[in-house]
Symmetry: D2
Subunit: 339 residues, 4 copies
């Protein structure tokens, strides 16, 4: 397979570091540029990065000299992967797109742009096919971390659902390494995350809907979401109460979830989890400290009572919810020969 | 007002300690006996208790010699207050009742007994009036800590509700001082609390229903509950999505909640909060570390969208949810002249 | 007693908030100006401050309009109290001094200036008397929070000591409300606090030494210090191994510590703790969650073996270590008629 | 090499689980029996164990049926490895020894028995050689977890030391999985661990001394220790202030620590870390969350001032401090042909 050359924007942040780590020794994606904020440009990645992840900085990245976000610094790249913070992403990504570059981005701006596919590969890889009809370069967005995790177990049962009640318990790393102070969150719950509830509702509706070249038709279900921040380091959890059109045997639900496979699994893409939804039988699962999987979503406490399906969902907000989903999207595009 | 003489069962546990503390200098309730497990009987409370609460052991309690749970040790008492653990409560309380004593208890056994009033004073003080028709001694139960907190803001809007979706985030103290180890819960969420979901559903339906001398008629609404344990020390939180019969202006909801007053407020009972439901305007309220009130319930994030009312509720699981509710129940019974 | 008019610099930070709180209803100190960073100037304190402390913003402060740090905004003030961060303190305080104002400051610059008294009132109130010989306005500094706590139990035994080995376990609030992120410190220990070890050594030597108008003579003992940051919210702890000149009975040490009273106690100053050193007998004391006192220092685990005295010391880094010590210093100066 | 057949006592506890995990796929040690408390005997390990460690229960262990601690259940075993709690260890181990079995044990009883070698392999592997002169079966003890960690960096500089001041910051797992409740330790420090200070002093003196067949001669230095429990899950830290006989260049100290290799390294024993002492240059190292190594000890903040050497030491209390040291001891004995 041809190699794909990429650069990573925001490479020294938590999500950027995960991209750097996950792309070490990738079978066909090659990182040739790492970019960071102006103060770090020109210095070696290994000397500048405050490495937060287990293990050491991957060897290939250590001596890469950090470049700017300017298009001129990304000329020989096939795709730019963006792990930029939301507040700077729009300006930078717009410039890169205007210069003719392809971008896959985790940042929130333009996610709801009707022409921009919003992709969680197992859920709506087929939305990518609209890009075949697009001339020139493109922008692909990945969803909000929580929407990425929640949309997975909704996919195989989506036509059974009438309405959703979702309460999230989201980890501190979702706000970045320095995002929340110990005094603010230790032993506490903050039942508010700015903008998050609206994003989850809209993005789930976009991903579970239909995408066309210049517009999309949303799924069209009411998604009532309350988000909370809890003193957990890694892993977002969500309790889902799904109002179903009819009651249905809960064993059937579990079978559908367990049996779910999609394009990334069929193609055996390098970053795809073999089993994207792990249904756990332990009565007190899933727990962030015990059951977190980088790319698969863990589901527990599945129960149907009347026409209400309850399940508890857990996923890795930094990998499935951010760095990993971007890479899997790129792998999917390659397999679809869009790239 | 005549003084009421009480004894406290389980006085060295977390809930028992709160009873001991709240009854120091009470205007008409007098603690004359403290009881504890066999190994501690005969020793002074102040020497035996591992005091967990802020401040010192109240002076009145220090030199009280601990008695057993045997009826003979509670003869000259008007009411026995029980803070016993659920697993020993049934045997002990049955014996006390058989001997002719009155009991108000926090423990779970007999809560759903059709003849036993289950009381959260502001919510269903009127259920106590059936005891006027009862000859001899009585048993009154207080609800599960989470049911005590959640039932409060449901009361003033209960006739608007068709169905409830509730997700709780409960603190570690709900399992007792030694109940959950640091390794098990720090940085973790455990989305399962044994028996809790069933209790919350059943007890809310009992308290919001009608009580008669020998049976009760439940509220009759579906209450879908998922309970989780979070690394918070004190305070239980619940996210409530209430399906309403019709849409309703959210300002009206807030007014009803804020304006709610009940018998304990009208009677200005010593332990009654002046304002039982505090609706907080801060966008990120309520938080256990900032907004916990011993007897009032804090409500935030009130939102109506379509016919769904969302609110986040926080209450003190050890005071409103346990020790305080027992004392307020006794005060209410005294004001109703049942005692 | 004449009233003293003060302003508070850095009034919206953690230490500034404690000053605002402690000065509500003070018998002779009156806060007439609150100052904050440029972006907040001109707005009401109650609207701007993100209040971190228990209880509400004191009523007197709510409607005070924030002023700048410029001398012109502090003209009618007797003393300026500074709770500024170390990095901006020097420039601001210099300007205020140059304009003829008196300053008592918590910030680290100028603490080791030979002409500036460094004051922990119970320990070296007498150093303040040199100011009687100074014409014009003055600067008084308070020590580093840990030095404030540690110096207290050293004072009554200082002449017995030959050398000190100190290991600190310092709480997160010492770095400010937003100072340390949850991801960095939860479940972790960071055995390094920049500049702290040098400050503790130097400041203890200055406070336990002799102060003259234009120089000081240090105590002259070796103080070997290792500082660590632990996941605790409030309260700094230190384990002290003091090498004594001779062995001494540990009961005598305890008596000296317990019996210690100084000028603030004799004068019954409003902020002075009645008993500045609390020696706790509980075998596992002192603990931040159980034994923290705002102005007194708690001491436990006192043991003499050979000529080594071991004790564990705990104090409130924000009150005794910062806001409270400044107020007590002002009270002491008033009692000494320096003001 | 001949295979060694072992059984593990206390195999379902934290330390026992680590032994089970570390011995999966061992090149010459084979676990043939797992033993647990009476209530679990007769059931399969995989069904009974509440597995706390990362990853799954090793395959070999899942179907092993748990046996008792009775000698008759360990007949065909070469060595019994004991991960028993201290309070039951003595009775059980005595019985096994009396029946002629060999035992290597982590439990504290008999550690100071003059005839029993107390072994941290890199530190005093040579103490094992006295067993060559012993007829019949033997008991070997491993030290207290903190003593195991601290003794390592003391070994290569032991002859320079006159006296030690040690303050420990020990993790919660040292008290077992259920040992310390969240309410007791979160956000707190407990400056007392029962019996720990005496053990560390005595055991370091025994390990750094000389062992003979029927007695030992201790190192003979004063070791002043204060132990504290901190809210950290895994890893014990110690701050060491060593009073040296003379001042010495700190680079020399670092070289000695870094260059230290011992018998287990020379023999390339399977469980031996290649570099037993890792000296870290990062200014804020070592930290439990970032720098914990299973078998090596991490050292940071090395500083010599006057004749005082300061260093901060971190080690894994469950592996180097318990399960790993036992296995390494067995490997060492095999290499010494004592077994």
């Amino acid at each position: 397979m041809d190699r794909v050359k990429v650069s990573i924007l925001g490479s020294t942040g938590l999500v950027g570091q995960w991209m750097v780590k996950l792309l070490a020794n990738h079978s066909f994606i090659e990182v040739i540029k790492l970019s960071a904020s102006p103060g770090k440009v020109g210095r070696k990645y290994g000397e500048v990065v405050h490495w937060f992840l287990p293990g050491d900085v991957p060897e290939y990245a250590r001596d890469l000299v950090l470049v700017s976000t300017d298009p001129s610094d990304h000329k020989d790249v096939d795709v730019v992967l963006s792990a930029l913070p939301n507040d700077v992403a729009n300006a930078v990504e717009s410039k890169l797109l205007a210069s003719g570059l392809n971008v896959i981005s985790n940042a929130s701006p333009e996610r709801m742009n009707p022409r921009v596919p919003l992709i969680n590969p197992e859920v709506n890889w087929n939305h990518l096919t609209v890009l075949r009809e697009v001339k020139g370069n493109w922008l692909v967005k990945n969803p909000n971390c929580t929407a990425a995790i929640i949309s997975m177990p909704l996919k195989p049962i989506n036509e059974l659902i009438r309405e959703l009640h979702i309460v999230t318990l989201q980890s501190v790393s979702g706000a970045g390494y320095l995002g929340i102070s110990y005094l603010a969150i230790d032993g506490n719950v903050i039942p508010f995350i700015k903008g998050e509830e609206e994003k989850i509702d809209a993005e789930i509706n976009k991903m579970l809907g239909n995408q066309y070249v210049d517009h999309y038709v949303p799924w069209g279900k009411n998604v009532y979401v309350t988000t909370t921040r809890v003193p957990v380091k890694y892993g977002h959890m969500a309790v889902i109460h799904a109002v179903l059109n009819d009651s249905i045997d809960q064993k059937q639900i579990i079978e559908r979830l367990r049996g779910f496979r999609s394009f990334p699994q069929e193609q055996e893409l390098p970053t795809a989890p073999r089993e994207p939804i792990k249904v756990l039988d332990r009565v007190d699962a899933p727990q962030p400290m015990r059951d977190l999987d980088p790319m698969a979503v863990s589901v527990g406490r599945v129960l149907v009572r009347n026409n209400i399906l309850r399940m508890v969902v857990l996923g890795d907000n930094l990998v499935r919810g951010a760095a990993g989903i971007t890479i899997l999207t790129l792998e999917t595009m390659k397999a679809l020969k869009i790239l």
